[in-house]
Amino acid sequence: MKFKIMVCIKQVPSSTEIKIDPVTNTLMREGAENIINPFDVYAIEEGVRIRERLADIPELETETVAVTMGPPQSEKILREAISLGADKAVLLSDRSFAGSDTLATSRVLSAAAKKISDVKIIICGKQSMDGDTGQVGPEVAQLLGFPFIGYVSEVRSLDNKKILLKQLKEKKYDIIEAQLPVVISVLKEINNPRIPGLKNMMKAKNASIETWGIKELMIDASKVGLDGSATRVVKIFKHEINSNTKMISSDLKAQIDEIYKEIFTYDKN
């Protein structure tokens, strides 16, 4: 039986100096030095650990596949994923993917999951550092009809049919059992990513990485890219945070009065 683990990774600019395309209002990613989205490094590590944990189930052929949708130069982060232990990597790249929002991106990723076939677990990072939406995981799950479990902090146990996860909620953890296939997004606390080994670094250097576009994925060009996007970014601007902290220390009644006054005056201006 085949059991594939797909890890979705994304390249993001390493610096905080981000340029915004004046026409499309999307982030300009070309040119800047790119790295793996830091949250996705934990996803790769977990994908590799899951494969290692399944190693002693007889007759189970496991494989961890890293995928990214992005321009041709994002091949670099796929090689890095292999150096971190992924068995294989696929680049999803096509001119018509440019300008995709999270929905269009999720269409491409879910098409890739179908083409890879036998995918039992899809792992995403919690969110990307640049877009910051955290939407791709749930959307991929929806498109494939898989359950989605976000903010996973621990994979308690798993076999070839089900998985037991610890999920962070606002103020507590839930322990959730899910039937496979499943999509999960992972938190930083889930693991401590390994330092790439020499063997895997050599393997990464020589690995041949396939590129899949709309033809290979058999998707309609109108469903991806700017045309296939349900949302359009109208404007990106810098968020000014204005926080004035005022400490109030007196007896309880005086504190309440003071707060009341504060709210009242705040409302007025």
């Binding site: 390994r194 330092i195 790439p196 080994g197 020499l198 063997k199 670094m201 050599m202 250097k205």
Partner: protein
């Protein structure tokens, strides 16, 4: 600075730099202070394939040369010489198996040592046999299908922590130096135990213990090579491993130099950075020049070992003695440049100075290295 490293060597450097930055530097002063053996870090080193370097691919290694081992050791030593010593001592422990072991012994022991799942140690020195290693007293007597070992080894790095030990013992007292033999002893063999952990000046993260053999039963098939080959195996092992001690010295010297350079630009006295004083500048210049010269000699000796040049034994001894003297001088000068701050444990250079000293002593003192060099010169010339 370019050293014309190969792509593989660059990868080794990358990996080691990450281990130093992420795993060693944050904990090194604590490992030193509390004398903690770096089990976790050695596992990370194992996962990164660094124990595989010199072991042939047939036994799950990477089949590189000693040069690559030296490069890895140099970078790890920049972080902590105690950790680097523990790493290097495992290599020293498995070299006898690699150099003279049978295929069956290699099949049995090398794969788990290559992965870092197990670590090794090298047991030669005894209380009355240091530089004069030929006078060891530990005995091995063949009884049926086993050798029975009796005696005590002293100051064995990784002692008590290692799983597999290369141990040298006398099988024929009448033959003197030609009566010594080498054995592979596993940690849990009956009659094998350990003395207390030594308290040391430096490399305090490394573990140094006595190996105690009381009627220790070692199966006959764990004899390395033939009876009487022990001393030759020990010398061949040390010829190969000495450049790596030089590399340890270069690493710790480089680290001290970098600390001193950085500090000299920040520290202000008399209204200016101390790096503007010529006395400091000249110290830095000498430290950098000597470290560089030591590095070149170590790399050259390693290449000579890898190419099996006849002068490799002489060059290994030169690299070990020169680099370790440089390390002692450079780390001492680094403390001088940091002044009183350098003497305090809040800064890493006093540890580097304490650590550097061992490179002049173990794997043959520098006096012994000079004996090796001089004898080789007199016997073989140029």
């Amino acid at each position: 600075m370019s050293y014309f490293y190969t792509e593989e060597q660059e990868m080794i450097i990358d990996i080691c730099n990450r281990i130093v930055r992420e795993k060693i530097n944050p904990v090194r002063s604590q490992l030193d202070e509390d004398e903690i053996f770096p089990t976790e870090i050695l596992s990370e080193i194992g996962r990164s394939d660094l124990f595989r370097l010199f072991i042939p691919e047939k036994w799950d290694g990477m089949g590189t040369g000693i040069l690559e081992v030296c490069i890895a050791t140099e970078i790890l030593s920049k972080g902590c010489l105690g950790v680097a010593t523990s790493y290097a001592a495992s290599g020293l422990g498995f070299l006898p198996i690699l150099i003279s072991g049978s295929d069956e012994q290699k099949d049995r022991y090398l794969p788990s040592l290559a992965s870092g799942g197990k670590i090794a140690a090298f047991g030669l020195t005894e209380a009355d046999a240091g530089s004069d290693a030929g006078s060891i007293k530990t005995k091995a007597k063949l009884e049926g299908s086993n050798y029975i070992l009796n005696g005590t080894k002293q100051w064995i790095t990784n002692g008590g922590e290692a799983d597999i030990y290369s141990v040298f013992a006398v099988t024929d007292e009448s033959k003197g130096i030609r009566g010594a033999s080498a054995f592979i002893v596993e940690k849990d063999f009956e009659g094998f135990s350990f003395g207390k952990k030594e308290k040391k000046l430096g490399i305090r993260a490394s573990a140094t213990r006595e190996l105690v053999f009381e009627n220790c039963i070692v199966p006959k098939e764990n004899l390395i090579g033939k009876e009487g080959m022990g001393f030759i195996i020990a010398m061949k092992t040390l010829d190969k491993s000495r450049p790596a001690v030089g590399a340890q010295a270069v690493g710790v010297a480089q680290a001290a130099l970098e600390e001193a350079l950085c500090y000299s630009k920040i520290r202000k006295q008399f209204g200016q950075a101390i790096s503007s004083f010529q006395a400091i500048q000249h110290m830095l210049a000498e430290m950098a020049t000597n470290t560089e010269a030591a590095r070149q000699l170590v790399y050259h000796a390693a290449k000579a070992v890898d190419s099996e040049l006849k002068e490799s034994s002489r060059l290994s001894a030169m690299a070990k003695f020169f680099a370790s003297d440089v390390a002692m001088k450079v780390t001492t000068d680094a403390v001088q440049i940091l002044g009183g701050y350098g003497y305090m444990r809040d800064y890493p250079v006093e540890k580097m100075m304490r650590d550097a000293k061992i490179t002049q002593i173990y794997e043959g003192t520098n006096q012994i290295q000079k004996n090796v060099i001089a004898l080789d010169l007199i016997k073989n010339g140029f």
